[in-house]
């Protein structure tokens, strides 16, 4: 982990409340699933924000985020040339299966780490769950991604887990998932029934991001674990949902 001062290359809206921030950043190589802690330039944002890494290529770090509160709104106002403090890469990423005939399930803002993973493996089925069509950054998702929206504005009307449970595909050999806890719990259930290994990337309110404050623990079969330092990626069967 390093602390870096990075310069904004671009920061633009790519879907409803969804932004893509590109930073000039000399960060060490990362594993998909790892994240960074960024300091939002707002007096109202005291703690750093954990953001999943979408891409790091040739010194450019791409972060995709949704505006939710004061911190992310302040982030969305960053202009080209401004500086921002970034710490990372942090946490443990996905364990990649080389031959993976994988299924990726992204719900809401769970998209960046899975895009990062998919772009590395470039194989498998990509499923996306969102509230509505306008929430989906179409320019950045895999061309053949299957989509579920709660309002039915695009793709399957309902939950992304419906697609997973009704899949007529060849049985996948691994499931990677990131999104709201309710979605992950369902994915974990389905993967257990299908007897497919499943890795989930969890989200929890964090303060430090590197395992010292014990703010973001999750209950696992071997006790509390820090999501930031021992996750955010866990084997689904490890988690006590």
């Amino acid at each position: 982990m390093k602390e870096l001062t990075s310069t904004v290359i671009s920061n633009r809206q790519i879907a409803s409340n969804t932004y893509l921030l590109s930073l000039e950043c000399e960060m060490d190589p990362y594993i998909p699933g790892q994240f960074v802690m960024v300091k939002a330039p707002s007096p109202g944002a005291f703690l750093r924000r954990p953001l999943g890494i979408m891409e790091l290529k040739e010194g450019v770090l791409a972060l995709l985020y949704k505006t939710r509160g004061e911190g992310t709104i302040a982030l969305s106002m960053l202009k080209e040339g401004e500086a921002i403090s970034v710490m990372g890469p942090l946490g443990n990423g996905f364990r990649i299966e080389d031959e993976a005939q994988a299924v990726y399930i992204a719900g809401g803002i769970g998209l960046p780490p899975l895009l990062s993973l998919y772009n590395k493996i470039k194989k498998g089925n990509f499923l996306i769950g969102a509230r509505s069509e306008e929430d989906i950054p179409f320019d950045y998702i895999p061309a053949r991604a299957e989509i579920a929206t709660e309002d039915g504005s695009v793709g399957h009307k309902g939950l992304v887990t419906d697609i997973l449970s009704g899949m007529n595909l060849k049985k996948p050999n691994i499931i990677y998932a990131c999104g709201p806890v309710a979605m992950l719990k369902k994915v974990a259930d389905i993967s257990r029934h299908m007897n497919i290994p499943c890795q989930v990337s969890l989200e929890e309110r964090m303060a430090c991001g590197f395992g010292v404050c014990a703010g973001c623990v999750v209950k696992t079969v071997s006790g509390n674990k820090s999501v930031c330092a021992l996750g955010p990626v866990f084997n689904a069967e490890e988690i006590i949902w």
Binding site: M1, K39, A45, F46, L47, R205, V212, A214, V217
Partner: protein
């Protein structure tokens, strides 16, 4: 110009090479920080608060943001004293920095038993937490009544030769009496302050943000409160006061020294800026040199009014 002398004596042989420590609960047991900063340059390392048995802590969410600070309800999750002594202390002993163990109990007996068990080589001092707002039994209850606190400190004092620091709560109707009581009972130093009981509510969900409903406020938001308490307490007692509460820079630390602190603990800032300690230590040294001050004692309590 000669470099200012940064060493500080907190009593009973506890001498720190500089006055900057971390605050308990923001440093775990040092392993993570050892990978990013040199622990040898710190004045002291304060462990996460330990209990006799391992403790799971509170349900999540455990942290929430506040204006210029955060509210936490970690609930003193810790590995327990046995695992600490076996697995964490050997690592911490490898550094040339005094290890100060923060501990708490659910009863006087537990405090006493822990003090005995912690009186081993490699532990430089004990910091009694009598003021955590996040535990139902013990914790803050000991920290509100001067007589109860005095008895507790006296009982612990009898069982250990280690330097004994008592960490006080800001939530006392008369913190100077609490401080005096701790001193009379044998405390060697006092830490002022712990977090301030607080809560954060989400108006959209109409629910408290924290799983525990309430927590403790820390960070720059509490600095003025901490400064005032250090100012009051340090003039009221004859033992060193360690200032804690919202210290984020060397300027904050200097303000605490002026108010009467002999040393400082940096807490919440470490979560946001984990690389900040070396800069704070250098900044203090630079300030003292710039002002022609040769030792910390010359600035301690020297607020000009």
């Amino acid at each position: 110009m000669k470099h200012a002398q940064l060493a500080v004596d907190l009593g009973r042989g506890l001498v720190l090479k500089n006055p900057v420590m971390n605050a308990s609960g923001t440093f775990a047991y040092g392993e993570e920080f050892s990978r990013i900063i040199d622990l040898n340059m710190m004045g002291g390392i304060v462990t996460k608060g330990l209990s006799i048995n391992p403790k799971e802590g509170n349900p999540t969410p455990r942290v929430a943001e506040a204006a210029s600070g955060m509210v936490n309800a970690i609930g003193l999750e810790n590995v327990g004293i046995e695992k600490f002594l076996k697995e964490k202390l050997p690592f911490l002993k490898g550094f040339n920095t005094p290890v100060i163990v923060n501990f708490f109990g659910n009863s006087e007996e537990e405090y006493v038993l822990m003090a005995e068990k912690l009186s081993v080589d490699g532990i430089a001092a004990l910091e009694m937490n009598v003021s955590c707002p996040n535990v139902k039994k013990g914790g803050i209850q000991f920290g509100r009544d001067p007589e109860v606190l005095g008895e507790l400190v006296y009982s612990v004092r009898k069982k250990t030769e280690k330097p004994l620091i008592v960490k006080l709560s800001p939530m006392s109707s008369d913190i100077c009496r609490m401080a005096a009581s701790a001193q009379e009972a044998g405390a060697d130093a006092l830490t002022c302050i712990n977090t301030i009981p607080a809560m954060v509510i989400d108006e959209k969900t109409k629910r408290p943000v924290l799983g525990n409903i309430t927590g403790g406020l820390s960070g720059p938001a509490i600095k003025p409160v901490a400064l005032k308490i250090v100012w009051d307490v340090s003039r009221h007692v004859g033992i060193p006061v360690i200032g804690a509460g919202g210290i984020a820079s060397h300027k904050d630390a200097i303000q605490f020294f002026l108010a009467g602190a002999s040393a400082v603990q940096v807490g919440t800032q470490l979560l946001v800026e984990p690389f900040c300690l070396p800069g704070i230590i250098e900044g203090i040294s630079g300030y003292l040199s710039d002002h022609g001050i040769t030792g910390l004692k010359e600035i301690c309590g020297k607020l000009e009014i």
